[in-house]
């Protein structure tokens, strides 16, 4: 992602303890965003599918972490092949990387870069899950995550951030993941829901968020973790660019929250907590590609535009009839497109690179590059995600049965209930191997009625 950090000395930069420590902390901050997202989404669904929503994010921490170490890092950041994919055998299992090995121009070990990028790879598939609330078989989701990470995320990360990747080489600016993370996940969400269809009762039954405090908690933790995501994407602090990104992340998010709240107060008569949380996330999404190239005033403008447009965009699903359950398209796809395109207007040419946007005398050149990046990632992710969903749907089936969806996916897929408010208890004592009657045969142990 970030180009080489130049140093005054003629010899290659050495490992920086400060940058390495900073990046390990940033990696942990980005890791926190996946559980934060789980809470953000989990509070927005109805009680009966809370656990499923949480687990759709958590399972990505399991699956994508392992795949990234096995081969994902090699595909995304290995030696370039044809500008579309990377591959380096020594990155298989991260086993051929020296403990203190540095890439040319980098001040942090390859290991540290790999683990920082791992957290992005985990978060991106989890983002998709919000569009699929209440209705997808857990095994189908897990398989989708593994396949999607492999054929969509890993290659797209190479396009955008890998040395030799075609969008990277073209000069598309995506500081921390407006295209590779947010447009990518939002377009995938659209592709999948076009295949699997709506929730039972969409537009007919009330589908209120069951816990707005959980949503606010998730949004707050996302905002916090996002500093690692954004400021960490410069991979060090030698030249102040990461600090500019940090400031821009804060002001764009603030402006977006205010814009969303103002819009809904005028339009619907109230300042809602869900609006505040959603506006903040829309701002975070939009500043992600742009915050390393704009000024703080530019960041305020980008945030305000994102807050306003996303607040209007979330209503589209009711008009057009697609069930983007928790507005992954309305917030992440739309916000990602806004941020990526606005780079072409607000890039000052004085921060991460000398590329100037339209408002700073740079003409349409950067805007054109940004548009190519947006369209390429959007189209690729949309099409491949729809195909993956179609294949899984035709083989194992993507959706739980209508009865199971209506009665609640938590009990069916996870054999648990999110909240037990009843003092009455009920049920029987847990059956353990010590107390259970001996099972006559393994085959009879297959299915237990909940």
């Amino acid at each position: 992602m970030a180009p080489a950090v130049t140093t005054l000395a003629a010899d290659a930069p050495a490992l920086s303890a400060a940058n390495t420590g900073f990046m390990l902390i940033c990696s942990a901050l980005v890791m926190l965003m996946t559980p934060a997202l789980a809470f953000f989404y989990g509070g927005m669904v109805r009680v009966k599918s809370t656990l499923n929503m949480l687990m759709m994010s958590f399972i990505s921490l399991g699956i994508v972490t392992v795949l990234w170490v096995l081969y994902g890092f090699g595909i995304a950041f290995g030696t370039d092949i044809g500008s579309v994919i990377g591959w380096s055998p020594e990155y298989l299992g991260l086993s051929g990387i020296g403990v203190t090995e540095l890439w040319d121009g980098y001040t942090i070990p390859v290991y540290v870069f790999a683990v920082f990028q791992l957290m992005f790879a985990v978060l991106t598939p989890a983002l998709i899950s919000g569009a699929l609330a209440d209705r997808v078989k857990f095994t189908a989701w897990a398989l989708f995550v593994a396949l999607w990470a492999t054929v969509v995320y890993f290659p797209v990360a190479h396009w955008v951030w890998g040395a030799g990747g075609w969008l990277f080489e073209m000069g598309v600016i995506d500081f921390a993941g407006g295209t590779a993370v947010h447009i990518n996940a939002g377009a995938a969400a659209l592709g999948v829901i076009l295949v699997i269809g709506k929730r039972v009762g969409f537009k007919k039954d009330p589908m209120r968020p069951h816990s707005l405090p959980l949503v606010m908690l998730g949004a707050g933790l996302l905002w916090f973790g996002w500093f690692g995501f954004n400021a960490g994407s410069w991979l060090g602090n030698d030249d102040g660019v990461g600090a500019v990104m940090f400031v821009n992340t804060q002001v764009a998010t603030a402006a977006a929250m205010l814009a969303w709240l103002a819009y809904e107060k005028l339009r619907h008569g109230a300042f809602t907590t869900l609006g505040a949380a959603s506006g903040a996330v829309a701002g975070l999404v939009a500043i992600t590609p742009a915050g390393g190239s704009c000024s703080p005033l530019g960041a305020i403008a980008i945030g305000a535009v994102a807050g306003l447009v996303c607040a209007m965009a979330v209503g589209l699903k009711y008009k057009l009839g697609y069930d983007d359950s928790l507005d992954v398209i309305g917030v992440h796809l739309v916000g990602g497109v806004i941020g990526s395109l606005l780079v072409g207007f607000f890039a000052t040419g004085g921060v991460q690179s000398d590329a100037k946007g339209l408002f700073y005398g740079g003409g349409f050149e950067q805007l054109g590059k940004q548009a190519v990046g947006v369209l390429a990632v959007l189209a690729y992710s949309l099409i491949v995600s729809a195909v993956l969903a179609l294949v899984i749907d035709r083989t194992m089936g993507m959706r739980v049965s209508e009865d199971d969806e209506v009665s609640g996916i938590d009990q069916v897929e996870h054999a648990e209930t999110a909240y037990d408010f009843s003092g009455a208890g009920g049920g029987t004592a847990p059956r353990t191997t010590a107390t259970a009657a001996p099972a006559p045969a393994v085959t009879q142990n297959k299915k237990v009625d909940a």
């Binding site: 009330p206 809602t272 609006g275 507005d327």
Partner: protein
């Protein structure tokens, strides 16, 4: 015996409880309930989607009393529950054949 049931506004519970204790009632049962009558629900907005919530939260109070106390007790409950605004609720009574105190096995009015 009579079973007096009151479905009223939740924030009147403490008033009603105190009034019933002053009247000499020894026990009651309270359940959280929801429902609607002449009180219309309210509108909530989530990301621009408006929901009409027509089941309003209420509490349901149940008290068993001897026949001769029933009318007076209903008056006590109604007075304590009233705010004068729409949605104050309803109070009604039904005859009860028998009642048993589980611990002692006492029956009828002795069980109250």
């Amino acid at each position: 015996m009579k079973l007096i049931t009151a479905v009223v506004k939740p924030h009147r519970l403490d008033e009603i409880k105190e009034a019933l204790q002053a009247f000499g009632v020894h026990g009651l049962t309270v359940t959280e309930a929801s429902g609607y009558g002449r009180q219309r629900g309210h509108t909530e907005v989530y990301r621009g989607a408006e929901y009409t919530v027509d089941l309003v939260p209420k509490i349901r109070i149940e008290v068993l009393v001897e026949d001769e106390d029933a009318e007076q007790l209903i008056e006590v409950v109604v007075k304590a529950a009233r705010t004068g605004k729409i949605g104050d609720g309803k109070v009604w009574s039904v005859p009860v054949d028998t009642a048993v105190r589980v611990r002692t096995g006492e029956r009828g009015p002795d069980a109250l």
